[in-house]
């Protein structure tokens, strides 16, 4: 479609080129430099969608992020919901359609990249309008590290939408020079298309840079589409301007009704005439600029309707010279039209009373109720706001450390004042940082400001339409009206936060940019209290919507959380392992052979370890090197058993408790030297136990000369398990005497393999004869291969975590965190043998003497054998006891405990389980019941050690 509403000249668009795009299935043409909104307006299209609740036509009502009307769904180049036509830059091939307040996420994965950058500066300036540029120049000239971010495609802020002059030249020439000067400072980061959307503690600001959105399909794939800047600034200068505020009247939501300043921006920034016949309704002087500029551009301005009794004598004179009719002491009471405004209903207005009106034909109704400073970032940083009676707006009400507000955001609305104020706050920030603000800091000369006639604060025009405020829209996105606020107040609500939630005003896409202050004003009016007493709702980040994809950045998919793999990982993959996540580790769960399911594979792997030899990659086991003259003292204080008596060359199993006496971890300890131990923890407990040891060493016993460090990744660990393990180890390490006499259970020996240091330890987590092989991960694969080769003749079988679990459970070895839950003592686990009687104290000991710890009905770890020899009890199942007559007790049925581990056993040829059961050890031999899928399964309570209770196998 042709651009019949394009001004003959002007605007920052490239008229030498055209851009074709599609909206609601119709092809349009715009120019580079257009937004989707400006291109649609140039084609005469105002309506974007219909409203979410009432289905009323809605159009473009503002020129930037404050627009409550122009929500669109992008279809091409990539589906994206809930963008504003006013902030989408036009590019070739763009396809979009209007949205009634709800969009649709893409159904295909987003292949674009998103990333994040941290940046630290002395001064962060948000907003590249006149005040922001003045502040940035002042800071840059003083040699400070500066970041200047601005949400539009180019710097200039309000200057882009006006005709201001500086130094007797168009103000944008100064903007160009200022940007060039900033680019010459090496410590200045200047980002356009970048919205500071959140300000937090200690000078932390998040900003979203839209890097390639404006390029459409031409966006290079290697450049991230959007980037989150994590900015940390010593001083923040907020120069975010102001949003124009509408006045509420009946049927104020029709397409063609627009903020006055927005129309001026569409004309000057984009070269667009938003209509042919305009009525301007205002309460202040600023809208006269829109009336006069549109008139000069060829729009017929039917009338300026000024609610002030006298209007503005000076501006009225200007209008009359231009032949524009001014109606002071009048208001717009309503409109006509359906898909586009056709008439403004204008009536005299005096002392709050509306007289008899008449209709003025127009296709454009411009509205200005004053200006709301954009105080969002100040307020997010917990700055208090104060209500300014004269402006009818909320302004920063206090000084914040490290954050200052300038320009229109601080209520300074004239150009000369903005430049001077920008420089002032920048100098103050520099002084606070003891940076000398001296240096060249000439700023251009702006025309002497003209003192405007005082504005009238008018929130709403009394509804004379008979609709009682039900078509007087406060929040267009939520279809919320004056009648809704009246209903909330009538229901007894007083707090503005409650009224927001009752009416949903301010909860939509725009977060109340145009509706928030109106709601405060109208509520105060209805309650008959001052606006200051009503206040505003809390400003929360983000200032404008941010896609989750951008917040996630690169932390998604495989990069969401680190994946830790051992040096054997590729071998495991090639061997067909099925992996499971253990914390961040990828561990082989089992190695199925063709046609095997998990059950079959695990039974085979278990049988191999019990009858021949198996091998496990146990490298994820936590390992902590504890060194120092007092290493043994520290371990004695933290373990329940004695570690100082452990001999160099030996290994001891140990249990650690919290001060409450509950088990927090277990594992084996190797004494490497008088002053050095290797502490082994569970895979999941590695980091936690290192923290625990360091906490006690630093906070309670700083006199101990001991240091701890993680060596988990410095050692691969391969348990070689089973009756033939001695043959395998003996074959691979011929220098080591592997006989039981020379190398007994719970001993370790160092050796070498082709010059590579290897440590062997006789530790068993299966009850079988077993050797753990420790080697640097650099040689892990080679040593693993040697073990496999040597074990080939014995049918050596790699096994995974599932088999490891079955083997340990058959022996009653608990997994801390699976068979325990933070309420289980060593005594509950039947580990009195691991509690030293000799030590005067250790962490947890005193709690063992508490009465609750002596209770014979504490839950204790026992074995369970399903009587049917068939059912694998689901882990987590509850355990109940039947009455003597075989009936369940009446509800609530007392729970005796729960199943903590449950597997099928090759060795026992039946399923078995471990469980925590009240008074469990006194129930051994009893039959209790476990509900499984609605059936009560009888199970026999046994001791926790079901395989080789005598321990006859560990020496082979």
């Amino acid at each position: 479609m042709t651009s019949t509403f394009r001004a003959t000249d002007g605007g920052r668009i490239d008229r030498s080129a055209t851009v074709d795009f599609t909206f609601d299935g119709q092809v349009y043409t715009g120019h580079p430099g257009d937004t989707l909104a400006s291109a649609l307006l140039a084609a005469g299209r105002h309506q974007i969608a219909t409203s979410i609740k009432l289905g009323r036509p809605r159009g473009i009502a503002a020129a930037w992020a404050e627009d409550p009307g122009g929500l669109v769904q992008i279809e091409e180049p990539f589906p994206e919901p809930m963008l504003l036509a006013t902030t989408v830059e036009l590019h070739e091939g763009l396809a979009a359609h209007g949205l009634p307040g709800q969009g649709r996420l893409a159904e295909v994965p987003d292949s674009a990249r998103y990333d994040a950058v941290h940046h630290h500066v002395d001064v962060l300036v948000v907003g590249a309008g006149p005040a922001g540029l003045a502040a940035a120049l002042t800071a840059a000239r003083a040699g400070a590290r500066v970041a200047l971010v601005d949400e539009q495609s180019e710097a200039g802020g309000s200057l882009l939408g006006g005709t201001d002059r500086l130094d007797d030249a168009p103000a944008l020439e100064w903007v160009t020079a200022a940007v060039a000067e900033l680019a010459g400072h090496p410590d200045v980061l200047h980002l356009q298309r970048t919205t500071a959307f959140g300000s937090y503690d200690d000078g932390f600001v998040l900003a979203l840079e839209r890097r390639t959105d404006h390029l459409g399909t031409a966006a290079p794939k290697h450049i991230s589409r959007q980037r989150v800047w994590r900015l940390r600034a010593r001083s923040i200068v907020v120069a975010t301007g102001a949003h124009e505020r509408p006045v509420v009247f009946a049927d104020n939501d029709r397409p063609g009704i627009m903020l006055a300043g927005a129309a001026r921006t569409f004309l000057h920034h984009y070269g667009v005439l938003p209509g042919r016949e305009a009525v301007v309704f205002t309460t202040n002087d600023s809208a006269y600029d829109a009336a006069l500029d549109l008139h000069r551009a060829g729009v017929r301005v039917q009338a300026v309707v000024d609610a002030r009794p006298e209007g503005s004598p000076r501006r009225r004179e200007e209008c009359e010279r231009a032949g524009i009719r001014v109606l002071p002491g009048a208001v717009v009471t309503g409109t006509r039209g359906v898909e586009r405004v056709t008439h403004a209903l204008v009536a005299p207005f005096a002392d709050g009373d509306v007289g008899a009106g008449s209709a003025i034909a127009c296709d454009l109704l411009l509205v200005s109720g004053g200006w709301n400073p954009a105080v969002h970032l100040f307020s997010q940083a917990r700055g208090r706001l104060r209500y300014d009676e004269a402006l009818g707006a909320f302004l920063p009400g206090e000084e914040l450390d490290g954050l200052s507000v300038t320009g229109a955001a601080a209520g300074v609305f004239d150009l000369a004042g903005c430049l001077a104020d920008g420089r002032r706050v920048a100098r103050a920030a520099l002084t606070a940082q003891t940076i000398d603000p001296a240096g060249v800091d000439r700023l251009p000369t702006a025309p002497e400001p003209v003192v405007p006639t005082a504005p009238l604060v008018l929130w709403r025009v009394p509804d004379t339409s008979g609709a009682e405020g039900s078509t007087s829209f406060v929040d267009l996105q939520r279809d919320a009206t004056v009648a809704d606020i009246a209903r909330a107040v009538g229901a007894g609500l007083r707090s503005i936060e409650h009224i927001k939630r009752y009416t949903t005003i301010g909860t939509a896409h725009d977060q109340g940019k145009t509706s928030g202050v109106l709601t405060s004003g109208i509520t105060a009016e209805l309650l008959g209290i001052p606006v200051q007493a009503t206040g505003t709702t809390t400003f929360r980040p983000p200032y404008t919507p941010v896609a989750f994809a951008a917040l996630a950045g690169r932390d998604r998919g495989r990069l969401f959380d680190p994946e830790r793999v051992t040096s054997l990982h590729d071998w495991h993959v090639a061997a067909g392992a099925v992996f499971e996540d253990v914390g961040q580790w990828k561990r082989p769960r089992y190695y199925p052979r063709p046609g095997e399911d998990m059950e079959a594979a695990v039974l085979r792997e278990c049988a191999a370890a019990r009858t021949g030899v198996g091998i496990l990659d146990g490298s994820t086991l936590g390992k902590i090197d504890v060194q120092g003259p007092d290493a043994a003292v520290l371990l004695d204080r933290l373990y329940t058993n004695m570690m100082s008596s452990l001999k160099v060359g030996s290994v001891r199993y140990g249990v650690m408790c919290g001060v409450d006496g509950m088990v927090i971890d277990d594992g084996t300890v190797l004494r490497l030297a008088e002053d050095r131990f290797l502490v082994l923890t569970t895979t999941g407990g590695a980091a936690k136990i290192l923290d625990w040891m360091e906490e006690w060493a630093q906070t309670e016993w700083p006199d101990l000369r001991v240091h701890c460090t993680s060596v988990t990744e410095q050692w691969n660990t391969f348990p070689v398990v089973g009756p033939r393990s001695r043959d395998v180890i003996g074959a691979v390490f011929p220098q080591v005497d592997v006989s039981n006499e020379a190398f007994p259970f719970m001993a370790w020996r160092d050796t070498t393999l082709d010059g590579v240091p290897v440590r062997l330890a006789r530790i068993s987590f299966s009850g079988e004869l077993a050797f753990e092989v420790y080697v640097s991960p650099w040689y892990g694969v080679a040593v693993w291969q040697r073990l496999l080769e040597a074990g080939h003749r014995y049918g050596i079988t790699p096994y995974g975590t599932e088999t490891m679990h079955v083997l340990r459970a058959e022996k009653g070895y608990p997994i801390i965190g699976q068979d325990t839950d933070g309420t289980v003592t060593p005594q509950d686990l039947g580990m009195e043998w691991a509690i030293s009687k000799k030590k005067a104290d250790f962490v947890g000991k005193r709690s063992f003497a508490r009465r609750a710890n002596q209770d014979p009905l504490r839950k204790q770890l026992v074995g369970l054998l399903p009587v049917d020899r068939r059912t694998v009890l689901p882990e987590g199942s509850q355990i109940v006891e039947l009455h003597a007559d075989g009936q369940l007790p009446p509800p609530p049925v007392p729970m005796l405990g729960h199943v903590t581990s449950s597997y099928r056993s090759a060795e026992l040829a039946r399923p078995f389980a471990l469980a925590l059961v009240k008074g469990g050890r006194s129930r051994i031999g009893d039959t209790v019941h476990v509900p499984v899928n609605g059936t009560l399964v009888p199970v026999e309570v046994t001791g926790s050690v079901l395989v080789d209770p005598e321990g006859a196998r560990r020496d082979g």
């Binding site: 409450d660 360091e694 630093q698 005193r846």
Partner: protein, 92 residues
């Protein structure tokens, strides 16, 4: 995101730190001699102050050192940080 001043490293992002609860709750000299009630107070009971509170913090993702801080639990402001071997500062 706050900056927290580590006494050894200087100001660092709060995500580098872990909270360690109330400070100046020493492990009893001889646990075997305290009553069950006294022991329970040591294990389970902590103050729940609104306002200035002496706390333990650990620079977990940095130097891994523990230190103490006086922090206002209502405003989150860190007013003082001090090393474990220092006395609890007297605050006005």
């Amino acid at each position: 995101m706050q900056l927290i001043e580590c006494p050894w490293c200087g100001p660092r992002e709060e995500v580098e730190f872990h909270y360690g609860g109330q400070a100046h709750v020493p492990y009893p000299d001889n646990p075997a001699e305290v009553s069950d009630e006294e022991w329970a107070h040591y294990v389970f009971f902590r103050d729940n102050t609104k306002g200035r509170f002496a706390e333990r913090w650990n620079h977990t993702a940095g130097c891994r050192r523990w230190f103490n801080a006086i922090r206002d639990t209502a405003t989150y402001r860190f007013e003082r940080v001090y090393r474990l071997d220092g006395p609890k500062p007297v605050t006005p």
